[in-house]
């Protein structure tokens, strides 16, 4: 199945006029290439924090000066972002999908704690839509009351897969598959072509990265099939058909897909996958930026959230890199082109 560019529909979306206006104003505060250049060129952590203090993160940096750890700062910033989302969202069933990956994370923590017989409570993240207690009850006692069907199915299938294989990879793959399938279902049901297109592209690029990582690890074809996620624009069979081909011929295989440039840039450094991961991020960011052309609707809000999350991820990377004395060239190599 080939993806085509989404079409913009204005009908019934005027209710988002305020939200979109607010997001448009906030977009101006997103970090620029210049901000990231200052952060990367900072001599040490203190100088990087000073540079960050001159941006939208000034409050967070102030918190750091008062003794908060950097992770607490990033978490506070994420909290701000979720509060904003709650404030602007008029379709919680759609915007809640942005929290689903935290449900997935908490599910993984709970299931791994159960299978490994370890206490991993300190790994929970607070932004999920389902309470940790409800998830815990479902896993320990089989009490699925109040949980959405996709979570119930995900838990049941993961437990039975684990009993069969005792393989932790299967735990992650089963849960990931359920998450993507759920997101796709929600967006399709809400007739949100832009977000369906986004999640399909995410699936395609995740499959592309999985394909490349497994090739590099010398995995078997059967492992590839088990690891690919359905629902993207490119069928898993396509990847299986080219799994044994040499790296040099791979770009020609993607010429007719949306990811021609991603693959060309991504495989330019041979077996180093950092350029591929960066090209994938660039592609997704450029897709999300198209939401700016949507005058009204949930899409610009959703896209702003994702772009801000990406920004937060890279601010964290630069700050932690500085803290650990990492050469900025390693971060620069991975940083999306938007920030370079």
């Amino acid at each position: 199945m080939e993806l085509t560019d989404y079409t913009i529909s204005f009908s019934g979306k005027l209710k988002y006029a305020y939200g979109v206006g607010r997001v448009r104003a906030l977009e101006r505060r997103l970090l620029t290439k210049g901000d990231f250049a200052k952060l990367l060129e900072a001599k040490d952590l203190q100088e990087a924090l000073r540079a960050l203090g001159e941006t939208d993160y000034s409050q967070a940096v102030l918190g750091a000066a008062e003794g908060a750890s950097y992770e607490e700062i990033f978490r506070a910033k994420e909290g701000e972002l979720f509060s904003l989302l709650e404030e602007l969202s008029l379709d919680p069933e759609v915007t809640d999908t942005l929290r689903k990956r935290y449900d997935l994370h908490n599910l993984k923590v709970l299931l791994k704690a159960k299978f490994g017989e370890e206490d991993l409570d300190y790994l929970f993240l607070p932004w999920g839509t389902e309470g940790v207690d409800a998830l815990q009850r479902a896993i320990d006692e089989g009490d699925y009351r109040g949980l959405p069907p996709w979570v119930v199915e995900a838990i049941q299938e993961t437990i039975s897969s684990w009993e069969e294989s005792q393989d932790p990879v299967v735990v992650d793959l089963t849960l990931d598959r359920h998450l993507f399938s759920h997101l796709l279902t929600v967006f399709r049901a809400a007739k949100l072509d832009f977000l369906s297109g986004w999640i399909q592209r995410e699936i395609d690029l995740l499959n592309l990265k999985t394909f490349s990582r497994l090739r590099l690890a010398g995995a078997e074809l059967v492992e590839l099939r088990e690891s690919l996620i359905d629902g993207g624009g490119i069928e898993p069979e396509f990847y299986m058909g080219i799994f044994a081909e040499p790296w040099e011929t791979l770009p020609s295989r993607f010429v007719t897909t949306l990811y021609r440039r991603v693959v060309e840039e991504g495989f330019s450094k041979g077996e180093d996958l950092a350029p591929l991961e960066r090209a994938c991020r660039d592609y997704i960011l450029s897709y999300l930026r198209k939401a700016r052309y949507t005058p009204f609707g949930i899409e610009p809000i959703y896209a702003y959230f994702l772009i801000k999350e990406e920004e937060l991820r890279w601010v964290r990377a630069v700050i932690l890199g500085k803290e650990n004395g990492l050469d900025p060239k390693f971060i620069r190599k991975r940083l999306p082109s938007d920030y370079l």
Partner: protein
């Protein structure tokens, strides 16, 4: 330093025997020290290359892990590795070298290194774990060799102390004591002779 002994012939005989024994012990210990030093130097040479390889491998693995860790929340990074499937069963045996025991590590490694899915992880984590897997056996060998080296160094130190104690304390003090007893006995001999001559002279005068 002279030993506190009675200057008797019996003591002299005993000390002379001890001196011979001390000389023999000194020679044996000196030979042992030389052999230990030889083994130590060859082990140092072998370990230097191995340590460099391990350090380079670990640097690469840690750098990749830091890169992975910096791109995700700490909870996400730790969750990815929360259920490891790689198992290492390490058996520690001992082998006799000279008169001390050195450890021999035997590792039984099973399971896959990768224990996570592909969503919310990246190739930096793959590279980090691949790097660790590559240096794991070398690290075990290095640990074994470095422990041997450490024990060897302790043994060299102990032997050197014994050699020095014999060479600079026991043998000189035995020699000094023997010389002292010898002189004392000679003096007693001369005293006796003088006394006997005097008695003989007195008897002759009567």
């Amino acid at each position: 330093m002279r030993l506190a002994v009675n200057p008797t012939r019996m003591e002299l005989q005993r000390l002379k025997k001890r001196l011979v024994l001390a000389h023999r012990g000194h020679k044996l210990l000196k030979d042992k020290q030389d052999e230990l030093m030889r083994q130590f130097m060859s082990l140092v040479k072998a370990i230097r290359g191995l340590r460099q390889e391990v350090e380079e491998g670990l640097e690469l693995a840690f750098r990749s892990f830091t890169l992975f860790r910096s791109q995700f929340a700490p909870q996400e990074a730790e969750e990815a590795l929360a259920l490891p499937s790689k198992r290492i069963n390490l058996q520690v045996e001992e082998r006799q070298v000279m008169n001390f025991r050195v450890p021999v590590f035997t590792a039984q490694i099973s399971g896959k290194m990768r224990c996570y899915g592909f969503y919310n992880t990246n190739s930096d984590l793959d590279r980090s774990l691949r790097g660790l897997e590559k240096v794991l056996e070398k690290m075990l060998r290095l640990a074994q060799e470095e422990k041997t080296l450490q024990l060897l160094a302790q043994e060299i130190e102990r032997t050197r102390r014994r050699v020095n104690a014999l060479e600079y304390i026991l043998i000189p003090s035995l020699q000094e004591t023997i010389k002292y007893i010898d002189m004392k006995l000679s003096e007693m001999e001369r005293g006796n002779l003088t006394r006997l001559m005097k008695i003989k002279e007195m008897l002759a005068e009567r």
